[in-house]
């Protein structure tokens, strides 16, 4: 009974009179107050995480019955094989990819760094671009790199995520972005140490 009241109170679903009566009761009962506070903090924490990135929820969207999931897996395997074939022949580069060739290492690049008071945002050059992310990295660890689009009035959409990336040096991590696949707008790259609770580093740029 208490839990239902707690849920309704935190969700703002009680009438004013009901809410006040419940407030009177938990002010008198600090154990109950702590349960309500836990619920408030869980809700607020979820809202904060959701506003920062949709990544945590992406894997949970559209739960599928297992047969459908199996069919999707088969299609995914076929699609992956098809993609690998295209990728190897250089016909259709991935939106976000690891740096693998010498040509990529010496090609067009953009540097992203967290600089206080920097004027304006970096602009992504045309074509396929090597992005040098400058920060403090631990070369022996894996990092996750996500490319997010900032949607006007709609929040943030994760477009692509790379897992298991190694830094190229203690101060640089590099990835390739295929700018041709991006609409003009604002984006950010989010770098997170895998299997760690450390906050992600966010680097913003603009696709003209």
């Amino acid at each position: 009974m208490n839990q239902q009241l707690i849920e309704q109170y935190v969700a703002g679903k009680l009438s004013e009179a009901e809410a006040e009566a419940f407030e009177d009761s938990f002010v008198a009962n600090r154990d109950l107050a702590r349960l309500v506070e836990l619920e408030q903090r869980l809700k607020d924490g979820l809202a904060l995480v959701a506003s920062g990135s949709t990544e945590e929820f992406v894997r949970a969207e559209n739960p599928l019955p297992w047969k459908l999931a199996l069919a999707a897996s088969v299609l995914l395997c076929v699609g992956t094989l098809a993609w690998v074939g295209k990728h190897l022949s250089g016909l259709h580069p991935q939106l976000l990819a690891a740096v693998t060739t010498e040509e990529q290492r010496t090609g067009t690049s953009m540097r992203l760094a967290l600089i206080r008071g920097a004027d304006g945002m970096p602009q992504l050059p045309a074509g396929t671009v090597r992005v040098e992310i400058v920060g403090l990295f631990e070369p022996e660890l894996h990092y996750t790199v996500a490319l997010d689009r900032i949607e006007p009035n709609q929040g943030i959409t994760t477009l692509s995520t790379l897992y298991g990336e190694h830094p190229t040096s203690p101060v640089t991590l590099e990835v390739m972005i295929d700018g041709k696949q991006l609409e003009p707008g604002s984006y950010f790259i989010r770098v997170r140490k895998q299997a760690s609770d450390e906050e992600a580093l966010d680097f913003t740029f603009v696709k003209p």
Binding site: S25, R30, A60
Partner: protein, 197 residues
Amino acid sequence: MDFVPGGELTRRIREGDASAEAELIRQFEPGLRVLLRRRTGGDHGLLQDLVQETLLIVIQRLRGAGIEEPEKLAAFAAQTARNLAIASLRKTERQKTDIDSAATERNADTARGVEGLAEDFEAAMAVRALLRELPQSRDSLMLKRFYLEDHDKEVICQEMQLSEAAFNQALSRARRRFRQILEERGFAKRDLLNQGP
């Protein structure tokens, strides 16, 4: 469950018993913080100020004139907090037309909001850890629908083909784990986890 003997506390505070004032603060502070958190729109500095002000008013009242129904001391404290929150809201509305006052307030807020930002950060980190640990992605989607999109339980259960018992069980498991994560990381010792005597 705590039982606050309002009449007894009232009498002892009127007689100048400092330990009774400390007891009143210990008993009422968690609930007042929850009540005011809901009514201060995420302004942690204001929340803390109003909690302190409420406790001060209640203690001063008990030291002086007392209250008519001492057994309803908690209700009196809650109503005092609500009144202060309303007064604060009105003051903020008035100040929206006064640019200088608003600027002064903003500067003050920056300093006093630091503790609140830390609380937000703690909660967000715990939630991230929780989402990573959830046994099924279905649970994460369920939390999103319930807490962020405010869908009713019945609707979520229907959409996700869950029984209400299974839903409640998953929700309860998530809450328990969220609390454990906060405990394991030593978060929020001051409030949520401070069980006290």
